[in-house]
C-alpha cells in the first residue's frame, strides 16, 4: 500500500469509518512505516480536539420552539383565504416587472446598432483605402513662420501633402472636403493669417 492511500485510510480510521479489510491493510502498513505511524498519531490528536468540541456545545435554552411554530402555522392559516378543494386554481402566478432587464436589453440593442453603423463602408460602390505616404500628392505650398527669425513677416513656404485614396481598381478618388467659405465672408479669419 502506498503512503498516500494509507493516509486516506488514516483519516477515515480516526472516526472508525474504515471497513474491516481496509483496517487490516492499514494496520499492516503502519507496522512497517514510521512516517505514517507518526501521521496517524497527529490525526488522533486532531480528532481528540473535535471530540472535546462535540461534547462542549449543548443547547442551553430548554424552552421548546413548538409553541412559536404552532402560533405561526395558525397565523398563516388564518391569513390565507379558504379555497374550496374542488375548484381548480386558475390564478396566474403574480409577476413582477423588472425594469432593469428591459434597460439592459435596450442598451445592448443601441450598442449593437452603433457598432454596425461604424463598421459600414463610406461608399458601397468603392472600396476606399488609404495609401502609403509615397502616394501623396503635392498640392501647393502654404506660408510658414520661421521659428528662429524673430522678426515679424519672415515666412517661408512649406509643401502641403494630401493623402490620395483609391478605389478597388486603383484609380484615385477625391476625398470629399467640407465647403470653405470665401475669404470675404470670413473677415476674422483673414485677420489672423495676416503676419
Amino acid at each position: 500500500m502506498k503512503c498516500s492511500d494509507a493516509r486516506h485510510l488514516i483519516h477515515l480510521a480516526a472516526g472508525d469509518d474504515n471497513l474491516p479489510d481496509e483496517e487490516q491493510a492499514l494496520a499492516e502498513h503502519l507496522h512497517s512505516c514510521a512516517d505514517c505511524r507518526s501521521y496517524s498519531a497527529g490525526m488522533t490528536d486532531a480528532m481528540q480536539v473535535l471530540q472535546k468540541f462535540r461534547h462542549d456545545t449543548t443547547v442551553v435554552d430548554e424552552v421548546s420552539i413548538w409553541p412559536d411554530v404552532e402560533r405561526r402555522i395558525r397565523e398563516r392559516r388564518t391569513a390565507r383565504p379558504a379555497v374550496p378543494a374542488e375548484a381548480p386554481d386558475r390564478r396566474q402566478p403574480k409577476r413582477q416587472f423588472h425594469g432593469g432587464v428591459v434597460a439592459l436589453c435596450a442598451c445592448s440593442l443601441v450598442l449593437a446598432f452603433i457598432t454596425i453603423v461604424q463598421s459600414l463602408p463610406v461608399n458601397d460602390a468603392m472600396n476606399v483605402q488609404m495609401l502609403s505616404p509615397d502616394f501623396r500628392v503635392n498640392v501647393g505650398t502654404v506660408p510658414r513662420l520661421q521659428p528662429g527669425a524673430g522678426q515679424a513677416g519672415s515666412v517661408s513656404s512649406a509643401p502641403v501633402f494630401v493623402p490620395v485614396m483609391t478605389d478597388s481598381a486603383g484609380r484615385p478618388v477625391m476625398i470629399p472636403q467640407p465647403l470653405q467659405q470665401s475669404p470675404s465672408a470670413r473677415p476674422a479669419d483673414r485677420q489672423t493669417h495676416s503676419f
Binding site: H8, L12, F53, R54, T57, I65
Partner: protein, 220 residues
C-alpha cells in the same frame, strides 16, 4: 425504547446520547413512527406535527448552532426549518425517512442565511454590530479566554462548506455515514471521501493555528 424513538430511522437504530433519551422520557412520546406522524400531519393534524417538532427540535437546534454561534438566530432558523417542513409535507416522499429530509431543510436554510449575511456584508455600508456592553471591571478581559470551542469554530470556518457539513454531521453530531449521505443527497462513497478530506483539512488548519500560537508566544 425512547432512544429508539428519537432515532432518525425507525429500523436502523443507533445509540444516542443520554440527553436525548431524557428528552424522550420527558415528552412522553408514544411508540408512533415518524411515518405515521407525517401521514397524520399531512391530513391536517397539527398535533402530530407538534410531536415531530418535539422529537427533533433539540437536535435540529444543535446542528444549526454548529454552523453559527448566535443562539437567537439559531432558534429563528430552527423555527423556519420546521415551518418550511410543514409547508412542504405534501412534497415529502413517505417511503423515505423523515429525519434526513428535515435536517436537509435545516442545513440548507442555515447555509442560505450564512451566504446572505456574507453577501450583505460585502456590499453594505454598515453591518450589524450587536449590542454594546460596557466592560465589567470585576471580570477579566474575556478576549484572553478564547476557549477551545471558539478556536475550533474558527478553524472549522476555514474548511470549505461541502466538507464542513460532512465533518459537523459525522464527527460532531454523530450521524452515520448513510445518514449524512441522505441529508446531503450524495452517495456514501462520496461522503467517505469528503469525510477523509475534511478531517485532513481540519488537521492541517489546526496545526497551522498551533504553529501560529507558538510563534506568537516566542515573540512575547
Amino acid at each position: 425504547m425512547a432512544t429508539r424513538l428519537l432515532n432518525m430511522t425507525d429500523s436502523n437504530v443507533e445509540s444516542r446520547s443520554e440527553d436525548e433519551e431524557h428528552d424522550a422520557c420527558e415528552s412522553g412520546f408514544s411508540a408512533v413512527s415518524d411515518a405515521r406522524l407525517v401521514d397524520e400531519a399531512r391530513r391536517g393534524n397539527t398535533d402530530s406535527f407538534g410531536q415531530l417538532v418535539l422529537r427533533y427540535e433539540r437536535r435540529v437546534l444543535r446542528v444549526i448552532r454548529r454552523f453559527m454561534p448566535d443562539d437567537q438566530m439559531a432558534q429563528d432558523l430552527a423555527q423556519e426549518a420546521f415551518l418550511r417542513a410543514f409547508d412542504r409535507l405534501e412534497q415529502f416522499d413517505p417511503s423515505r425517512r423523515f429525519g434526513p429530509w428535515l435536517f436537509r431543510i435545516a442545513v440548507n436554510l442555515t447555509y442560505d442565511h450564512l451566504r446572505r449575511v456574507r453577501r450583505r456584508g460585502r456590499w453594505a455600508l454598515f453591518s450589524e454590530a450587536g449590542y454594546e456592553r460596557p466592560p465589567d471591571p470585576a471580570t477579566d478581559d474575556p478576549r484572553q479566554h478564547l476557549d477551545t470551542s471558539q478556536e475550533v469554530r474558527m478553524v472549522l470556518a476555514d474548511v470549505p462548506e461541502a466538507y464542513r457539513t460532512v465533518l459537523i454531521l459525522r464527527d460532531l453530531e454523530g450521524f452515520s455515514t448513510s445518514e449524512v449521505a441522505a441529508v446531503t443527497e450524495r452517495s456514501e462513497a462520496t461522503i467517505r471521501w469528503r469525510l477523509a478530506e475534511a478531517r485532513r483539512m481540519f488537521r492541517e488548519a489546526w496545526e497551522r493555528r498551533d504553529r501560529a500560537m507558538e510563534e506568537r508566544q516566542k515573540r512575547e
